[in-house]
């Protein structure tokens, strides 16, 4: 099976020549289930390229002109094979309680602020960069990765002035600026900048609907809730009519639209048509390659999605930014002890499995995982839970992260005017560093006022 670096021997110019030759002959169709690559006249690399979305460019070459054709091939080659970086953004919905995830058990005020919820010293692993902090017992997997130097911790991240509304704060994080009216997501704007107009999978929500952080102004992006099952069928519809019907479904999406809502509906059809082809090819390749994960994932949809994501990356799918939600809601106004433990127990082992899977497949050098939440929670508990707060905790996970804490833990002695944790790092600085150090892109093209944010060193 082709590894992610397999195109060392398959340069861009070769790809272009190969693609041009095939386009000249006219490609036969590839049906799900068709032996591969038998009968296609293609080698595996070209086949993967097709599944990476270049098929359209090849087919459409004569209609679309050489310029687009060239670009499509180049894009797919770059995305599929040359180790282009991938960011996997994982949202802990509801505002997770930083002071329980990394509990300041060594702080004098901790017991006073958390008489019921406070964790006992020794219950979890000590945080090696600041020994007043302790990992939540259910976050042991993160501690393990941290000790391997694969986790960068932001112990008190946020922004000024802080917002205690879920929706406003989450929106700020999603759009990468403190603007309630901004519409495009911060990853969406990055994709608008570097994306491919025929590759919805470049921005991938592994969910039932699209993540706002991936919302784009121009480029297509995709939501795929269950990648192994992305097919469309209908009662009483089979070949030879089904194929043309599905193509017409996509074609209806390319027609003019008289209003924004119409355009949204058309775009959804068009993109769905593209993703349908790409996922069908992925599933076929994955099934027949016999080259599956050697790592065991825990059960559950979240872990399944991460497992399929690893396989998609392994297969050279042209994915740049991924978004998915962690398990459960972290909005623990009440019953926090049980809810938080359960959520972490279902999330952290899956994350560790994903990282181990990437390592086993040799993909860990090109994938970074970002864990974030809209805010931390109020230091003073309300009896059985905690209300909305400000400074929170975020993590970057990956083999190539710098692994050094960004901003210190501010302590509980001094809180802000709303009795919330003080912020010692800004999420927009994290975004700027990710754009520059991970994506090699000028942050100012994506994040407004980028120049004003300090850039922590995130990538080693």
């Amino acid at each position: 099976m082709a590894r992610s670096c397999s195109c060392d021997d398959f340069t861009r110019s070769q790809l272009l020549r190969r693609g041009a030759a095939i386009a000249g002959k006219g490609l036969p169709g590839i049906e799900p289930g068709m032996p591969m690559p038998a009968g296609t006249g293609m080698d595996r690399r070209t086949f993967l390229l097709r599944s990476a979305g270049a098929a359209l460019s090849v087919y459409g070459a004569s209609m679309l002109g050489p310029r687009h054709f060239e670009e499509g091939i180049a894009q797919a080659a770059a995305a599929g094979g040359s180790g282009e970086p991938v960011l996997v953004s994982i949202f802990m919905e509801g505002g997770w309680d930083a002071l329980s995830v990394l509990a300041p058990v060594g702080e004098a005020r901790y017991k006073e602020l958390r008489p019921v919820l406070g964790l006992q010293e020794g219950a979890g692993r000590v945080f090696t960069e600041d020994e007043t902090l302790m990992w939540h017992p259910a976050a042991g997997g993160l501690a393990e990765l941290h000790e391997e130097g694969k986790v960068t911790v932001f112990p008190a991240i946020g922004y000024e002035p802080s917002e205690e509304s879920h929706f406003t704060s989450r929106h700020y994080w999603e759009v990468g600026q403190l603007d309630a009216n901004a519409r495009s997501g911060w990853m969406g704007r990055y994709l608008d900048l570097v994306g491919d107009p025929d590759n919805p999978l470049q921005g991938l929500s592994l969910d039932y609907s699209l993540a706002p952080a991936l919302a784009t102004e121009t480029m297509p992006v995709a939501a795929v809730s269950s990648p192994a099952d992305y097919t469309m069928w209908a009662y009483g519809l089979g070949e030879p009519v089904a194929g043309p019907a599905l193509e017409t479904f996509g074609a209806l999406g390319a027609l003019p639209a008289p209003s924004p809502a119409y355009a949204q509906a058309r775009a959804a059809s068009y993109d769905t048509g593209l993703v349908l082809e790409e996922m069908a090819n992925f599933v076929t390749t994955e099934k027949e390659s016999g080259d599956h994960a050697t790592v065991t994932y825990p059960p559950g949809e979240f872990a399944e999605r991460l497992a399929v994501l690893a396989a998609m990356l392994h297969n050279g799918m042209p994915i740049k930014c991924v978004s998915l939600n962690a398990v459960g809601s972290y909005d623990t106004h009440a019953g926090e002890v049980d809810t938080l433990s359960t959520n972490l127990e279902q999330t952290v082992p899956a994350l560790v499995a994903f990282q181990r899977d990437l390592e086993a497949r040799g993909l860990d050098g090109r994938v970074l995982i970002q864990l974030w939440s809209e805010f931390g929670r109020r230091p003073r508990e309300n009896g059985s839970g905690t209300d909305h707060g400000a400074g929170g905790v975020a993590f970057l996970i990956g083999t190539r992260v710098a692994g050094k804490m960004i901003g210190e833990f501010p302590g509980l002695t001094n809180l802000d005017e709303n009795e919330n944790l003080i912020r010692t790092s800004d999420y927009r600085g994290m975004y700027c560093s990710l754009l520059e150090q991970w994506f090699q892109t000028e942050a100012g093209l994506v994040i407004p006022e980028a120049a004003t944010f300090e850039r922590p060193v995130l990538v080693a």
């Binding site: 049906e31 087919y59 459409g60 209609m63 679309l64 670009e71 917002e163 205690e164 509304s165 406003t168 969406g188 608008d192 107009p197 929500s205 039932y208 609907s209 699209l210 919302a215 784009t216 102004e217 121009t218 992006v221 939501a223 795929v224 469309m232 069928w233 209908a234 009662y235 009483g236 089979g238 009519v241 194929g243 019907a245 193509e247 017409t248 479904f249 074609a251 209806l252 999406g253 390319a254 027609l255 003019p256 639209a257 008289p258 924004p260 809502a261 119409y262 355009a263 949204q264 509906a265 775009a267 059809s269 993109d271 769905t272 349908l276 106004h333 309300n382 009896g383 093209l445 407004p448």
Partner: protein, 537 residues
């Protein structure tokens, strides 16, 4: 192009250049389509040679739009003061077919067969009043809802039966606006059974929305504040004088009555409001779950609180009264309600008049809805994306299919909207109904809608065969009439007609003639139902 992408241009310049690119692409698309139609007949002949043909002219390099969706109107921080000037209205001009369709889709769940056509020519005002002024209890016409085994639904206990029980009302009720407003208030005061964990309490809340949908918003807000599902969902019964819980206090201002980022309230107001709301509690038992929701004055913080600068010994009733009486409430209410019905923001004058109407009518929901449904913007403004459950109900209505399966619950969930399970307290995101996951789910939903009436291409011996002679035009017209003749844009209809012409190659072997035509009919039904045109109204 790549070089330009890498260039360090100013962000706003970049956006405008991208927009230029997109416009150019759209012009190119239009040209290609014209070329496509010209040479259509010629190209068709070659199609059957490919196993999977590609209609290259439709495969454009640049898709028409990004994925931002359509922004909802938001009440301004400095709204105009309420005005007694009348709200602009279309008046009593005879309603057109297009107006009737839009009204039935947006104020209800789509037309029943022939319903829109029958309204044409009636005074528009009267048509609106028929929706906004129903008398007596609703009548549900047609068979009672059942599950796939033909058994009655158990909405209080079986998973998905709650969804289907309500979907049935959407399909069958003659008080369509009441059901639509019930859905709106389910989104406005969005509680999810994922946390409430009692289908019965969710159904009780649903009945509350239905009963109060056209009454006073203040009354509704008061009832919601002490409604058991809401008390559980936003921790009202965990909020007591010893440990105030701010959950309801914040959302009642941010989401229910005033709006964020308008300077309407401060963080101190949230904390003080939480104290005012203390005192509700309930019991729990293994057998009964959460029960006996009550106000207990010994749990209430009886001290004085300062909210919006007003100091008093406020309780939960005062809390609602203070919100509704807040100078920024009326603009929030009318803008939010407007946004459920109209895609564009209300003008300054309309906003002022709607506020005036709302306040002078004693916070009447009916008065404001009636004005919105007669407003020229409602009829002349741009399309809106139809929510998944409305789409589902509309398809069922158009083929007069009763609820005979509970599959609609998961089908609708996949499409992004399971009733009684909104994603969070701010409700569903109306700007993002459509993406590659939910569009696919709508296809699946539409297919299920046809599941009892599709012609089987391969019928068993002795069962009727589909026509072996139906021509493409007849096939399209039959498929349109299956869905009670919805409106398609000319471009879409042309594209679907082209498919009907070319989806299989003549001449067919005799054994293929009927099966392929049956498949074509099923495909046409699917393409119409899932066309972009049917996702908007």
């Amino acid at each position: 192009m790549i070089a330009r992408r890498r260039a360090a241009v100013d962000h706003s310049e970049r956006v405008s250049s991208v927009l230029d690119d997109r416009r150019a692409a759209q012009r190119k698309l239009a040209k290609e389509q014209a070329a496509h139609h010209d040479q259509h007949g010629k190209r068709r002949k070659h199609r059957h040679k490919r196993k999977r043909h590609k209609d290259s002219a439709y495969r454009v390099a640049v898709k028409p739009e990004g994925t931002l969706g359509v922004a909802l109107p938001v009440a301004p921080a400095s709204p105009p003061p309420p005005s007694s000037a009348p709200v602009p209205a279309v008046g009593s001009a005879p309603i057109t077919l297009a107006q009737a369709r839009r009204l039935l889709w947006r104020a209800g769940f789509g037309p029943a067969p022939g319903q829109a056509e029958a309204l044409v020519g009636q005074p528009l005002e009267q048509v609106v009043f028929a929706l906004t002024r129903p008398s007596g209890p609703a009548t549900l016409t047609g068979p009672e809802p059942v599950n796939e085994e033909g058994k009655p639904l158990e909405p209080a206990s079986a998973w998905g039966d709650d969804h289907c029980w309500w979907l049935d009302r959407m399909v069958r009720s003659d008080q369509q606006l009441v059901e639509r407003l019930t859905l709106i208030f389910h989104d406005w005061f969005a509680n999810s059974n994922a946390q409430v964990d009692s289908q019965q309490l969710m159904l009780d809340q649903n009945e509350l929305f239905r009963a109060m949908a056209l009454g006073s918003f203040e009354d509704l807000f008061q009832a919601v504040t002490t409604n058991p599902a809401m008390l559980l969902f936003l921790n009202g019964t965990s909020n007591n004088r010893w440990d105030p819980n701010e959950n309801y206090a914040r959302e009642m201002m941010e989401l229910f009555s005033l709006g964020a980022d308008r300077g309407a309230y401060t963080e101190d107001d949230v904390r003080e409001m939480a104290r005012a709301l203390t005192g509700w509690r309930n019991d729990w038992s293994e057998a009964l779950g959460d029960y006996d929701f009550r106000f207990d004055s010994s749990y209430h913080d009886a001290g004085s609180k300062t909210v919006f600068g007003q100091t008093g010994k406020w309780n939960y009733e005062d809390a609602v009264r203070l919100c509704v009486g807040h100078p920024l409430h009326a603009s929030f209410f009318v803008t939010k309600l407007w946004g459920y019905f109209v895609a564009s923001a209300p003008s300054e004058a309309t906003l002022a008049s709607l506020q005036g109407l709302y306040v002078s009518s004693g916070y009447s929901i009916r008065a404001v809805v009636e004005a919105i449904l007669q407003h020229p913007d409602f009829y002349e403004g741009p399309e809106m994306v139809t929510p998944p459950v409305v789409y589902n109900a509309g398809l069922l209505r158009s083929i007069s299919r009763p609820i005979d399966t509970t599959a609609w619950a998961w089908l609708s969930a996949n499409a992004g909207q399971q009733l009684f399970y909104p994603p969070n307290v701010s409700g569903w995101d109306f700007t993002r109904w459509l993406d590659t996951s939910t569009a696919r789910a709508r296809w699946e939903m539409a297919s299920y809608v046809t599941s009892k009436t599709y012609p089987n291409p391969w019928p068993a011996e002795g069962e009727p065969q589909y026509s072996a002679t139906e021509d493409p035009a007849a096939a399209l017209s039959s498929a349109l009439s299956y869905w009670a003749n919805p409106r398609l844009s000319p471009e879409s209809e042309q594209c679907i007609a082209a498919f009907a012409q070319s989806c299989f190659a003549e001449p067919l072997a005799s054994w293929q003639k009927s099966p392929y035509r049956a498949m074509r009919q099923n495909a046409l039904r699917m393409l119409i139902a899932t066309s972009p045109d049917m996702q908007v109204s």
